[in-house]
C-alpha cells in the first residue's frame, strides 16, 4: 500500500489507528532553513499524525471528518492512510522528514489526542492505550544526503526525537514506521550489592558504572553505613539483608549529588592568596581566618556569606518593627511580606545541562520546574505572578569553530527562547523581564536562568494561617500529576558533572505543561481551603528528593513505590524513586482531608496517588508492594559528612591600559556598534513572543516607548488582589555582569548588586529604611553559575584553583553589600559545573578559534596522543529582585516626555573605567585582541545618599523621566530615552578633562539620567549636591545632537534604531 503506515512490533492483540492532519505551508520555516543551512528549498509543508495503540474492538474511523482533528478551514484529515494520497490536489514534495519523540518520553500532544479521540468516539479508555504524535515535513526541493541529514537535525533534535527520511519513491512504494513503544520486561528486580566488603577500587568502578558522580570519600561514607552492625541488625530485623539495594544506592547518591546537596557551597575552603584589601575586609569581619599563611573559609560559602548576613538583617528588621522577611532558605522559595495580609515569594533556577542538550525542553522544564517551586512553597497557596529569564549563550550570529557535538548558539538561543515562551504562555504567567548575554565561552556551555514570583494571602478568609509547613507523623503523602517513566534518570548526578562529549544524555525529558496547568489549578483551590499541611515539588531526583526531604520534617517516612502510577510496565523500583518525570507535586495532608482532596483531584482531572505516610522514627522505609526495598536512617542520609574541602588560589589581575585607543572618532559608528552588542541590543524579539500582559496587572512591561520596542530595565506589576485595596505594586529587575568577573568577580557581584538597586530606584523604588518601620520589602535572589571550582576534578588544575578563589570573592561582595543595604539574599541556587571538556582530533588548530575564546581554552595532551580541551564559563552571578512599591502612580519610565525638558545626569561618582563594558568589547573586536581595563568602585554611603535624594524626587513627582545607566553606558541610555519618545535631545557634555569615550560608554554603577519640567528646576536642583547633579542638555522635538569639547555630532536616529534592533532579529517580522 502506498504511503506511510504505522505499526507496533511486538505481538499484541492491540491495533494502531492514526489520523494525519495537514497540510500547512511553513513559509517562515522554509526561509529560516534556507538561511541557516544555506539551502534553496521552495516550500516545506507540515502535517501532524496522531497514532493510537489500543484494543482491537475500538473503532475511531468516524472521527475523520470532525473534531478534535479537523479544522475544515485549515486542513484535511485522513484516517489510517496517508493524507497526501487523499487530497485532490497534488502535494509537491521530494522528501518527507518525520519524527516522533524517543521511547519513554512524555508525549503531551499524542496522549491528549488519544483522550480527545476516545471521548469523541464514545469509547472508554482502559489505561493501556498509548498516543503518539508524529510530525512530518514534506520537503519540496532536491537535497544531497548531507543536506538531508543536516535538515533533519535542524528540524528534530536527535537527543529528543527519532526521525526518518522518506523519499518520494519510498512513499509511493509504501513505507511502514514502527511506533516508539517502550517495551520493558515486566520483571521487578531489586539488585543487591555487598557494599560493606568492597575495596576502594570496586567502589570507584561502581561509581563510574552507575554514574554516581561521587568522590572516594563519599563512596566510603556510604560504605561505612553498611559496616555499622547496629544498622545491619536493624535491616535484618525488617527483612533486609546487609547488602545495599539499588534503590538505596541510586537514591543516596542522587540526593547527595552536588545538584541536590550543595556540597561545594558548604565546603571548607582553603585559599592560597595574596591578601589584598578585599580579603583583608573579610578577615576583619571574621569571615576568613588566617591559618599558617593561608586563608580558611571555615563555615563555607552559604553559611558565611548568605545565611549569616541575611539573619543579621532579619534581626535588624525585627528590631525596627515591620520585619518583612517571612521565610528564608528553608523552603522552595524565599518569602517576604507585601503587607500584613499578603506575601510574595521569589525563586530563580538554572537549567544549564539539559538546555545544552535539548534547548527547547531543557528551558521549558526549567521554567516549569521553577513554577513548581513557587507552587510548592509553604502549604501550596502561592499563585504565580510573573516569570523571567536570563540567557547566556554564544553570539547567535557567530560563524566559526564549534566543539564537536555542540549546537550552534543560534539553535541554542532559539530553542531556549521557545522553551521559556511555551512554559510561560501555556501556564498563563506573564514573562515580565529578561536578560541576554553573549560570550564565546557560553558556546560550550550555555546558561539558562528561569525564575518566578509567587503571591499568596497570609491567611484564609476564615483566619486559617497559610504560613506554616509543619506536617505531623501519620500525615499522608500524595503525588499529583504525571505517571512516572524512565525519562530523567540521573538528572541530578549528571548535572553535577562538567559537560563533555561523553556525557550520557539519558536525562532529556519533554514537558507536559497541560498536566501542570491542571495541577496548579487543583493545588491552588485545595490549599487555599487549608487541606494540606505541606506541599513540595518534584524536581531533580523526583520522588526520592521530594519525599525524603519532607520526611525530615517529621523524621520518618513509609512509602510504597508501587503506588506511584507508571507510564508503562517494567519500571524498576529505584527508577520510580529517582526518575525526574516532570509536572508532579507532592502533597501532605491529614488523613481526615483525604476524601475531599481526592474529590477535588478528580474534578480537576488530576491523577492522584497516596504513596505513603510520615513517621517519626528516623527511618525512611521504601517498599515495593509488601516488600521492603530500601531503608535509610535520616540522620545519616542527610548528614553533612564527609564535608568537602576545596582549594583555591588567587592573584590580582593587572588591568590593561588601553587608553590610547579608546577615544571616540565617529560617534555614529561607535554608538551603532555598542547598540549592536549582544548584551545591549534590543530584546524585542524575545519579549514579543512571551505574554507579558496576562493577569491584567502589568504597569511597566518589558518593552516601553511609543512603538513599544525599547527594553525596560525594571518592570512593574500590580497584583490583582490589591486593585481595589491599595496603590502598591511589585517592581522587578535583574542584573548580571559576567564580563567584569574576568577582572575580579568581587567587582562583578558588586556591580550587579548596585545595578539591581539602580534599576529599581529608577522607576521609583526605595531602599529599606532602618529608622522607620514600613513594608519596604525586597525579595532578592542570587544565582551562582560557577565554572568548575574543584581543582581535583578540573582538567587544568590552576583554573580550578582560581575558580574556587573567585567564588569566595563573590561571596565577600555579597555579604558586604547585604550588610550595608539591609537587603538580604533570601533564596538562590548554585550551579557549580559551568565548564566543559572535549576531545579534539589532530586537525584542531587554536588559530581557528575566535580571538576572544583562544586564550580561554586550556589544552592537554592525553597519554594516547589525543588532545583534550577545557573551557570555563565566566563566573556568572545573576541577582534578581522583586520589590514592593507603595504608589505605582508616582513611578516613572525612561522615555523623555516633552521638548524643552531639562536633562540631568545624577551620579554617585563620575564615569570612570571601562572594564567589562560593551564599549570595551567593541574596541577589542576592532583590534581582535582581548584585554580588560580598569573598574572604579563606588562608595556605598554615596550611593545610599543619592538613592534617598532620588526617592525624594519621586515623592514630589519632580521627574518626567528616569533611567539607570548600565549596559552600553550613558549614551546608550540617552539613545533609549530618545528613541522611546520619538523626540530629540541637545546633549551638552563637559567631561572636564576626562575622556569622552569614558563619559559616554563607561558602565560604572550609580548613574541616572533624568529629565524634568523646567518649572521644577529650582526645587529639583536644590535636592542634590553639585557633584551629584550634572546638567547635560535639554529635550528637543527632533534630532539627536551631541556637543562636547572633543567635537560635535548629529546622530542618525534611523540608522541607530536599525543597529539597536538588528542583532536579535530572527524573523517574526
Amino acid at each position: 500500500m502506498p504511503g506511510i503506515s504505522y505499526k507496533i512490533t511486538h505481538k499484541s492483540p492491540k491495533i494502531v489507528s492514526y489520523f494525519e492532519v495537514g497540510f500547512s505551508k511553513e513559509a517562515n520555516l522554509t526561509k529560516e532553513v534556507n538561511r541557516f543551512l544555506q539551502l534553496s528549498l521552495s516550500t516545506i509543508w507540515k502535517s501532524r499524525t496522531y497514532c493510537f495503540v489500543h484494543e482491537a474492538d475500538v473503532n475511531l474511523a468516524n472521527l475523520e471528518n470532525g473534531k478534535p482533528f479537523l479544522d475544515p478551514a485549515l486542513s484535511s484529515c485522513s484516517f489510517n492512510s496517508s493524507l497526501a494520497l487523499k487530497i485532490s490536489k497534488d502535494l509537491p514534495f521530494d522528501y518527507i522528514i518525520q519524527a516522533g519523540l524517543k521511547p519513554g518520553t512524555s508525549d503531551a500532544e499524542g496522549m491528549t489526542a488519544l483522550e480527545q479521540a476516545f471521548s469523541a468516539s464514545g469509547s472508554k479508555l482502559i489505561g493501556n492505550e498509548q498516543g503518539f504524535l508524529i510530525t512530518s515535513y514534506y520537503i519540496d526541493g532536491q537535497l544531497d544526503e548531507q543536506q538531508r541529514i543536516g535538515l533533519s537535525k535542524f528540524l528534530f533534535n536527535p537527543e529528543l526525537f527519532e526521525s526518518q527520511i522518506i523519499t518520494k519513491a519510498q512513499f509511493h512504494q509504501g513505507q511502514s514506521v514502527i511506533l516508539p513503544i517502550v517495551e520493558l520486561e515486566n520483571l521487578m528486580e531489586v539488585q543487591e550489592l555487598p557494599i560493606a566488603d568492597f575495596s576502594d577500587q570496586q567502589l570507584l568502578e561502581l561509581n563510574s558504572k552507575r554514574k554516581l558522580a561521587a568522590t572516594i570519600e563519599e563512596l566510603k561514607y556510604f560504605q561505612s553505613v553498611y559496616q555499622n552492625p547496629e544498622f545491619v541488625q536493624l535491616r535484618e530485623s525488617l527483612g533486609l539483608s546487609s547488602k545495599a539495594t539499588d534503590v538505596e544506592l541510586e537514591t543516596w547518591f542522587g540526593l547527595r549529588s552536588e545538584h541536590c546537596f550543595h556540597k561545594e557551597f558548604n565546603a571548607r575552603i582553603i585559599l592560597d592568596v595574596e591578601v589584598d584589601s578585599v580579603f583583608q575586609k573579610a578577615i576583619d569581619q571574621g569571615w576568613l581566618k588566617q591559618v599558617a599563611g593561608q586563608l580558611v573559609l571555615e563555615r563555607g560559602m552559604f553559611k558565611t556569606f548568605i545565611k549569616d548576613p541575611a539573619y543579621a538583617v532579619n534581626d535588624r528588621l525585627t528590631a525596627r518593627g515591620c520585619n518583612w522577611i517571612a521565610s528564608m532558605f528553608s523552603d522552595n522559595s524565599g518569602v517576604v511580606y507585601y503587607d500584613q495580609d499578603f506575601m510574595y515569594c521569589l525563586k530563580v533556577e538554572t537549567h544549564n545541562s539539559p538546555s545544552n542538550i535539548e534547548p527547547v525542553q531543557g528551558a521549558k522544564t526549567g521554567l516549569n520546574g521553577n513554577f513548581r517551586d513557587i507552587m510548592g512553597t509553604m502549604q501550596g497557596t502561592f499563585d504565580i505572578l510573573m516569570g523571567f529569564f536570563c540567557y547566556c549563550t554564544g553570539n547567535p550570529n557567530y560563524q566559526g569553530w564549534l566543539p564537536k557535538g555542540v549546537k550552534h548558539p543560534y539553535l541554542i538561543l532559539k530553542g531556549i527562547t521557545r522553551g521559556i515562551r511555551e512554559a510561560g504562555n501555556e501556564m498563563q504567567i506573564p514573562t515580565l523581564n529578561g536578560l541576554v548575554f553573549s560570550d564565546p565561552r557560553y558556546i560550550a556551555k550555555c546558561l539558562v536562568y528561569a525564575g518566578a514570583v509567587g503571591w499568596s494571602p497570609v491567611k484564609s478568609v476564615t483566619g486559617y494561617d497559610y504560613r506554616t509547613k509543619e506536617p505531623s507523623p501519620g500525615d499522608q503523602v500524595l503525588i499529583a500529576g504525571q505517571a512516572v517513566g524512565i525519562d530523567g534518570i540521573h538528572g541530578a548526578t549528571e548535572s553535577s558533572l562538567s559537560a563533555s562529549s561523553e556525557i550520557s544524555l539519558g536525562h532529556v525529558q519533554a514537558d507536559f505543561s497541560f498536566i501542570q496547568v491542571k495541577v496548579k489549578e487543583f493545588i491552588l483551590d485545595a490549599s487555599r481551603q487549608g487541606l494540606f499541611t505541606a506541599v513540595t515539588d518534584l524536581g531533580a531526583m523526583g520522588l526520592g528528593s521530594a519525599s525524603h526531604e519532607i520526611a525530615r520534617s517529621t523524621n520518618g517516612l513509609v512509602m510504597d513505590l508501587a503506588k506511584h502510577p507508571v507510564k508503562y510496565q517494567g519500571i524498576q523500583p529505584w527508577q520510580i524513586n529517582c526518575s525526574e518525570t516532570q509536572d508532579r507535586m507532592l502533597l501532605v495532608s491529614h488523613p481526615k482531608n483525604l476524601v475531599k482532596i481526592q474529590e477535588l483531584a478528580k474534578f480537576y482531572e488530576i491523577e492522584l496517588s497516596n504513596v505513603g505516610h510520615l513517621e517519626n522514627n528516623n527511618l525512611i522505609q521504601l517498599k515495593y508492594q509488601d516488600k521492603l526495598v530500601g531503608l535509610f536512617q535520616i540522620n545519616y542520609l542527610f548528614s553533612s559528612e564527609p564535608r568537602k574541602v576545596l582549594q583555591g588560589k588567587w592573584q590580582k589581575l593587572i588591568p590593561a591600559n588601553n587608553k590610547t585607543v579608546n577615544e571616540v572618532t565617529d560617534l555614529n559608528k561607535d554608538l551603532a556598534e555598542v547598540l549592536k552588542h549582544p548584551d545591549v541590543a534590543s530584546k524585542e524579539w524575545f519579549f514579543r513572543q512571551k505574554d507579558f500582559s496576562v493577569k491584567g496587572g502589568t504597569i511597566i512591561a518589558p518593552l516601553f516607548g511609543k512603538k513599544l520596542n525599547i527594553d525596560s530595565d525594571a518592570t512593574l506589576q500590580k497584583p490583582l488582589d490589591t486593585i481595589d485595596r491599595d496603590l502598591g505594586a511589585l517592581a522587578f529587575a535583574m542584573a548580571c555582569s559576567p564580563k567584569l568577573a574576568d577582572l575580579d568577580p568581587y567587582y562583578s557581584v558588586q556591580k550587579s548588586y548596585y545595578d539591581l538597586l539602580g534599576k529599581i530606584l529608577a522607576i521609583g523604588g526605595v531602599l529599606p529604611d532602618l529608622t522607620s518601620p514600613s513594608w519596604d520589602a525586597w525579595a532578592v535572589c542570587g544565582n551562582y553559575c560557577q565554572p568548575n571550582s574543584d581543582a581535583e576534578y578540573t582538567m587544568d588544575r590552576d583554573s580550578g584553583l582560581k575558580n574556587c578563589a573567585d567564588l569566595v570573592r563573590e561571596g565577600i561582595a555579597v555579604a558586604e553589600l547585604v550588610q550595608e543595604f539591609n537587603i538580604p539574599i533570601i533564596s538562590g541556587k548554585d550551579s557549580m559545573k559551568c565548564s566543559c571538556t572535549y576531545e579534539v582530533d589532530a586537525s584542531f588548530d587554536l588559530n581557528q578559534v575566535p580571538y576572544n575564546l583562544r586564550n580561554q581554552i586550556k589544552i592537554k595532551t592525553l597519554a594516547n596522543g589525543q588532545r583534550k580541551i577545557e573551557i570555563h564559563d565566566p563566573a556568572t552571578y545573576l541577582i534578581s529582585g522583586a520589590v514592593k512599591i507603595n504608589d505605582y502612580r508616582k513611578c516613572q519610565n525612561p522615555s523623555f516626555k516633552f521638548a524643552g525638558d531639562l536633562v540631568y545626569l545624577l551620579q554617585v561618582a563620575p564615569a570612570e573605567g571601562l572594564a567589562g563594558s560593551a564599549w570595551e568589547e567593541v574596541l577589542n573586536d576592532r583590534v581582535q585582541v582581548s584585554s580588560i581595563g580598569t573598574y572604579a568602585p563606588i562608595m556605598t554611603e554615596d550611593f545610599k545618599a543619592l538613592a534617598g535624594k532620588l526617592a525624594e524626587c519621586f515623592t514630589q513627582e519632580l521627574l518626567a523621566s528616569c533611567a539607570y545607566v548600565h549596559a552600553g553606558g550613558l549614551l546608550t541610555s540617552i539613545y533609549k530615552s530618545v528613541a522611546a519618545s520619538e523626540l530629540g535631545i541637545n546633549l551638552k557634555l563637559n567631561s572636564k578633562g576626562r575622556k569622552l569615550s569614558e563619559e559616554l560608554f563607561s558602565e560604572r554603577p550609580g548613574r541616572f539620567v533624568v529629565s524634568i519640567n523646567p518649572e521644577n528646576q529650582a526645587t529639583f536642583e536644590k535636592i542634590f549636591s553639585k557633584e551629584e547633579l550634572i546638567p547635560i542638555g535639554e529635550v528637543t522635538s527632533s534630532e539627536f545632537l551631541v556637543n562636547s569639547e572633543q567635537g560635535s555630532w548629529q546622530l542618525d536616529l534611523t540608522s541607530l534604531d536599525n543597529s539597536y534592533h538588528q542583532t536579535y532579529n530572527f524573523g517574526a517580522k
Binding site: P72, A73, L74, A113, N425, E426, V694
Partner: protein
Amino acid sequence: MLAKNIKVLIIHGLGIGCHEESKQAYLQSGVQVDLIHFNQLLESKEKLANYQIINIAGGFMHGDLLGSAMCAVNQLNIHGLTDSFWDFSEKGGVIYGQCNGFQLLVKSGLLPAADGNYSQQLVTLAHNDCGSYRVAYVPHRLKNKHFAFAGLEDQVFHLWCRHGEGKLQFNDQFSTLGQAKTQTVDQIMAEHVLLEYANPETGKSTEEFPHNPNGSYLGIAGLKSSNGRIFGQMAHPEVSVFDFTDPQVFEKKEALKRGVKTQEKLVGKTIINNLVNYFA
C-alpha cells in the same frame, strides 16, 4: 435590570488564564460574577439559564494541543454545549469570547454562524503570519455597529493582543472547506465582522504587519452573530479596564500634569459597561 442583578458566568479551568482579570473587569461595573470550571459547565447545562452573560476568557485551554480550542470544542460538541450556547443567545443571553474564547466560538461554528447555521465552521484562526506568538498593543476599529462597542464608532482604539493563532481566514489550500464556501465571504463581511485591525494613520482596516499582528484576511479582528449576542475578538479588552495597563500611562500622566488632555477612554471598561447597559 439593575447591574447588581445581572449575573455573569466566567469559564475557567483547563488552562484558561484570563478569568481572574475578566472577573475584576466585570466586578467594577457592579454585576455579579461566578467562576465556573469548564468541566462543571459540561455537566450542568441547565445552570446557564441563571445568567445573562457567558464570558469565555483567553488562555491556553488544553495547552493548545491539537490546535487552539480544538479539544475544548470537541468537548462542547460531545456534551451538546454548542447547542446550549446557541439557545442561550437566542433566548436573549450574551456570549462574549476573547482570544482563546474567541477561537472556541469560531471553531465551534457559533461565530459567525451565517444565516443562523452554526453546525459548520466557516472560518478559522490560523497561526500568525509572523511565525510566532506575539504580544502587541494593536489599533482596532469598529466595522459594524454593536451594542457592546457603543461610543467607539469612527475612531481607532488600541487593545492588547497576545496570541499565536489569530489569523482569520476562510479556507486554506488544503482545507476541506474548499472554494465553494467563499461565496459566504461577502455576506460575512457585510454582517458579521465586528472589529478590524486598523492603520492608525489612515483609520482604515489593514492586512499589513504590524498593525495587523497576524495577517488576518481583510484585517478582520472580531466577529459577531446575526443578532449580535454572540461575539468576540482576538484582543483582550479585559485588561484595558484599568488606566495603568496603557503602555503610555506615564506619558499621559505627565501630559495631564502639564494640562495637555489625552484621550482618556478605557476601551475595556466601555465594552463591559455597555454590556451591562444592554440588560439595563
